[in-house]
Amino acid sequence: MNKKTFGSRLVSAPYLVWAAIFVIVPLVIMIYFALTNDAGNFTLSNISGIGKYKKAFLYSIVYAIISTVITLILAYPMAYFMTKIKISAQRMILLIVMVPMWMNFLIRTYSWITILANKGIINSFLEKLGLPTVHLINTPGAVILGMVYDFIPYMILPIYSVMSKIDNSLLEAASDLGSNGFSKLKSVILPLSLPGVVSGITMVFVPSVSTFYISQKLGGNKTLLIGDAIEYLFNAGPEYYNVASSLSLVLMILILLCLAVMNKFSNDEGDIIV
């Protein structure tokens, strides 16, 4: 018996070695860079110098929270309504939601410029109708729109996949017990769909808080988000690797803290719903 399981445990060895070299060691090197200066001596000045970037962190977090909330508000009813239609139609719509994820997000983001620009589709439409044009591009609103757009499938899918597993008999039981639509939603659907919501939130929040493309294209490159700052520093030269690493480290810790808090809210055993 022992021998047999030893054999099957052994097959995970290549992966564990791989993960040690390419997951753990890189993080260790990053921490090393974050805690040393250009000459390789230990220093805390990179970490203490983070204060300079507090605005970037603040903006990133605020934008990410706003876009996660909007995404949730848009995606939750979508997922709910999807469960209410015919099974074959459900699968079709699921595919339709997923297809844009296979498209390059750079291109999808870029297309929004054509839509939102001062001379873009929306504004030329307004002009034709004789209405005043609106200033959309290069605003915080455009950046948030970009985030919502790029990441909304990651919210719809996990919520839908949890909701579609909710036992119909539960809902019937609730109706029999006199629940109306709203209280049914509150007492049955909402709690049962929570794990999906939690994993959706993490899957939207993490990329939003660390993005470095959307703000450059849709925000006019004016507000530096934390991802932009890191990317900029890495392109400024190897002498900035230390500062950039310390920013990445702080970003990573921030994300892990958020995930830990989110996990407190969910009761599932860390199964990721994708």
Binding site: R9, S12, L16, A19, F22, I24, I85
Partner: protein, 266 residues
């Protein structure tokens, strides 16, 4: 209520597809702009055949996606089998935590940490150039494996452990037992993991961006193009990718529907 929900679904789908429609529309532009429509033409599609930079990038992307998804499927499946037979809870937890890191971490952090590793080792080994095809491949395998593991493990949990025991008792070698008894029951998980790995790799920009050197994948080329004036050829290529994926998925769906119907008839 029914109508309302249908309208809502329609609106969200419209939101999801608005930029895609814009893209498809302008890919047929006769002019050079992705802003002003000058009439219909297929020139940009035809021009793609001669755009060696983009075709090369497409080839690179496909090679990396295929290799990395195959390797990570093998490594990941083996890992899943191994990890689920860990007896100590703590070592299982530890392995799963490590597995979760690349999934949960921001792409930019993963990309940067890998780049630092490659550059660091490159210096150590005295290489004149440390980034390139190999590093992109390693990076892709690294972020792909967790998805394979996480789609195989649930299937392993559902598999009857006795199946393998029985095969062993019947005189199979452990390896044969694994392939004859275990693999068939987890094959859907392996397949899902493979498909996920493939698509993630195909679409990855951020991690490739930091690890590619002058090896260019399609997202990198597109990124460089959106830094200049974007011409409709990028849109044309994306439209082709989009339509191929769309058709493939719909086919996959109808095939699956068909097989389900057949199964329910039995």
């Amino acid at each position: 209520m029914k109508a309302l929900s249908k309208i809502y679904i329609g609106l969200i789908i419209f939101f999801l597809y608005a930029p895609v429609l814009v893209m498809i529309f302008f890919s047929f532009n006769a002019g050079e702009s992705v802003w002003v429509f000058d009439g219909f033409s297929l020139d940009w599609y035809a021009g793609l055949i001669f755009n060696s930079e983009m075709l090369e990038a497409l080839k690179n992307t496909l090679i990396v996606a295929l290799l990395s998804s195959v390797i990570s499927t093998i490594l990941g499946t083996a890992a899943a089998v191994g990890i689920s037979s860990f007896r100590k809870k703590i070592s299982k937890r530890l392995a799963m935590t490590v597995t979760n890191i690349p999934m949960m971490n921001a792409d930019i952090v993963t990309g940067i940490s890998l780049m630092l590793l490659f550059v660091f080792f490159g210096k150590l080994l005295g290489l004149s150039e440390s980034l390139g095809f190999i590093t992109v491949l390693i990076a892709h395998i690294t972020f792909n494996i967790p998805y394979v593991i996480l789609s195989v493990i649930p299937k392993l949990k559902q598999t009857d452990a006795n199946l393998r025991e029985a095969a062993l008792d019947l005189g199979c070698t452990p390896i044969k037992a694994f392939f004859k008894a275990v693999v068939p029951s987890i094959s859907t998980g392996i397949f899902t993991g493979f498909i996920m790995a493939f698509t993630l790799s195909l679409d990855d920009f951020v991690i490739s961006y930091f690890t590619c050197g002058h090896f260019q994948t399609l997202p990198i080329v597109i990124y460089n193009m959106t830094k200049k004036t974007v011409t409709p050829d990028v849109y044309a290529l994306s439209t082709i990718v989009f339509i191929s994926v769309f058709i493939l998925l719909i086919l996959y769906n109808t095939v699956q529907n068909g097989s389900e119907k057949r199964r329910s008839k039995h």
